[in-house]
């Protein structure tokens, strides 16, 4: 895989001569009158600072990126003057519709401004002062073990695609870097919470991981984004809201409060990307529907794996007593219905119209009976 330069430059007369000329004061200034647009960007709103949107000007702006990026395969900054022999970095995503979303720059700015630090922003000591009952702590540990699996897969998804996206989509890549840090941070928070309570980590879930790997290994970014950003992001958002609503400790409430913000941004991007893709490539609608037909079953793995379902029942009901489990089952039934409803709302609003009518999930959800 290694790349080797075309020659030994320490022996190259041309290089040595060029360097010598400059260091003797004979500047070529070949760059001085670069053939580029002259602009002076400024913040539109001083309270907000200087955003990427403020620099969406002329040839420099993201609005002017064409659907097909054919003229750049190197890391040259969009809008700078290309010259000389530029290498091919091997980008495989060169079409805007495959990755773009109209909200990507605002999500990026929002993400940067809404950072948090798990080490100090979570009141960890509260668990020392108010430890949970053993069964509750074990349930939390299992839930957070599962959440680490989700966080790792989400991190991998952004990470595997960033390097192969054309550098002209710098705002998109920057957003994905922000997502990478979001997921690293959430993974950190989930791990810290799982361990701090003293119950240790619990069991990795075969069904969850098999499902997540199927989503992660989607053939294209836009398919993977439907799965990881929209479907998984949306599911985790509802889960974080549910966990916050039934939080057994202030630590969990605080953690899930931050997590819901991060996952909501992910779901928003997922919706925006699918919407943009279908608006610009309407002929792909049926292909995406078919992709979702084949991969939607993973949603059931997330909703139904015992490593997720059972701890949620315990946490929602408050314990393992019969009446608590019953109450937990009622709450989780509502949670599942809400997660499914919102999934269809998002994916249909993004352009997969009548998805709920086509999907096999509603029929399964309809069979849920809450505990009597």
């Amino acid at each position: 895989m290694a790349f080797y330069a075309d020659k030994d430059y320490t022996q190259d007369e041309a290089v040595l001569e060029a360097a010598n000329q400059v260091m003797q004061g004979n500047l070529s200034l070949h760059w001085y009158d670069a053939n580029t647009e002259k602009i002076k960007g400024k913040p539109a709103d001083l309270r907000r600072g200087l955003t990427y949107r403020d620099l969406d000007i002329g040839g420099y702006g993201y609005s002017s990126i064409p659907e097909y990026v054919r003229t750049s395969q190197s890391m040259v900054a969009r809008g700078s003057e290309k010259w000389g022999k530029l290498p091919d970095m091997g980008y495989v995503i060169n079409r805007k519709s495959e990755i773009w979303s109209d909200n990507v720059t605002s999500l990026y700015e929002e993400d940067k401004s809404r950072r948090w630090t798990p080490a100090v922003d979570i009141p960890w000591s509260e668990l020392d002062a108010h430890p949970l009952a053993p069964e509750m702590e074990a349930a939390c540990a299992q839930l957070y073990t599962f959440l680490q699996e989700c966080a790792l897969v989400s991190l991998h998804f952004a990470s595997q695609w960033v390097p192969v996206i054309n550098q002209d989509f710098i705002e998109q890549k920057s957003w994905m870097c922000a997502q990478m840090l979001d997921w690293a941070r959430l993974n950190e928070a989930f791990r810290k919470r799982a361990l701090y309570g003293g119950a240790g980590l619990k069991r990795a879930s075969v069904t969850v991981e098999q499902g997540l790997k199927e989503w992660l290994f989607a053939e294209t970014f836009y398919q993977g984004s439907v799965s990881i950003n929209l479907s998984l992001g949306g599911f985790l958002l509802v889960l974080c809201r549910h966990a916050a609503a039934f939080a057994p400790s202030r630590v969990d409430r605080a953690l899930m409060g931050y997590a819901m913000q991060d996952t909501a941004r992910q779901a928003s991007y997922g919706m925006g990307q699918l919407r943009y893709f279908l608006q610009h490539r309407p002929a792909q609608l049926e292909a995406i529907q078919e992709y979702v037909d084949n991969t939607e079953h993973v949603m059931l793995a997330l909703l139904g794996s015992p490593e997720v379902l059972e701890p949620l029942i315990i946490i929602s009901g408050g314990g393992l007593e019969r009446e608590q489990v019953k109450a937990g089952g009622v709450a989780v039934s509502k949670f599942i219905r809400m997660a499914a409803r919102e999934y269809f709302e998002r994916i249909e609003a993004a352009g997969l119209s009548r998805r709920s009518a086509r999907s096999r999930i509603p029929a399964v959800i309809d069979r849920i009976e809450a505990p009597a």
């Binding site: 909200n103 958002l237 809201r241 409060g257 819901m260 941004r265 928003s268």
Partner: protein, 129 residues
């Protein structure tokens, strides 16, 4: 909110316009709150909330809103049984209505700031009609 600028700044940008609807004896009082950057730009009372003009609306009976505010006053901030997320979670006490899931998700993208805004009621004198 202006007095607590630093806290809101630390939480980050909040860019959302949402409605608050308070029901009582079959009638409703409706408010639209507009947040931008780090600030509350405006609050206005309206006869009805146009769902296409707001990201989402939080609806609830006056008794629930009162319970939340009183909880905030007692504790300095909402406890976990009385925060917006918990009260609105299943739509049984407070309900979140929206036209567009994009708008709905903004409630969660800015939840910490929105909750902190409601928690500010602990610092003002409140009377219930």
């Amino acid at each position: 909110m202006a007095a607590e600028q630093e806290k809101f700044r630390r939480l980050g940008f909040i860019d959302t316009t949402f409605g608050v609807s308070v029901g009582h004896n079959g009638r409703k009082r409706n408010f639209v709150l507009e947040f931008e950057v780090f600030e509350l730009r405006g609050v206005r009372e309206v006869d009805s909330i146009d769902s296409t003009q707001v990201d989402f609306t939080i609806e609830g009976d006056a008794a629930v809103w009162r319970e939340m505010i009183e909880n905030i006053h007692r504790n300095g901030e909402a406890d976990s049984a009385h925060d917006i997320n918990t009260l609105a979670h299943f739509g049984e006490r407070l309900k979140v209505v929206y036209d567009n899931p994009d708008g709905h998700d903004k409630l969660y993208r800015f939840m910490e700031s929105i909750q902190k805004f409601f928690d500010l009621s602990s610092k003002v004198e409140v009377r219930f009609n």
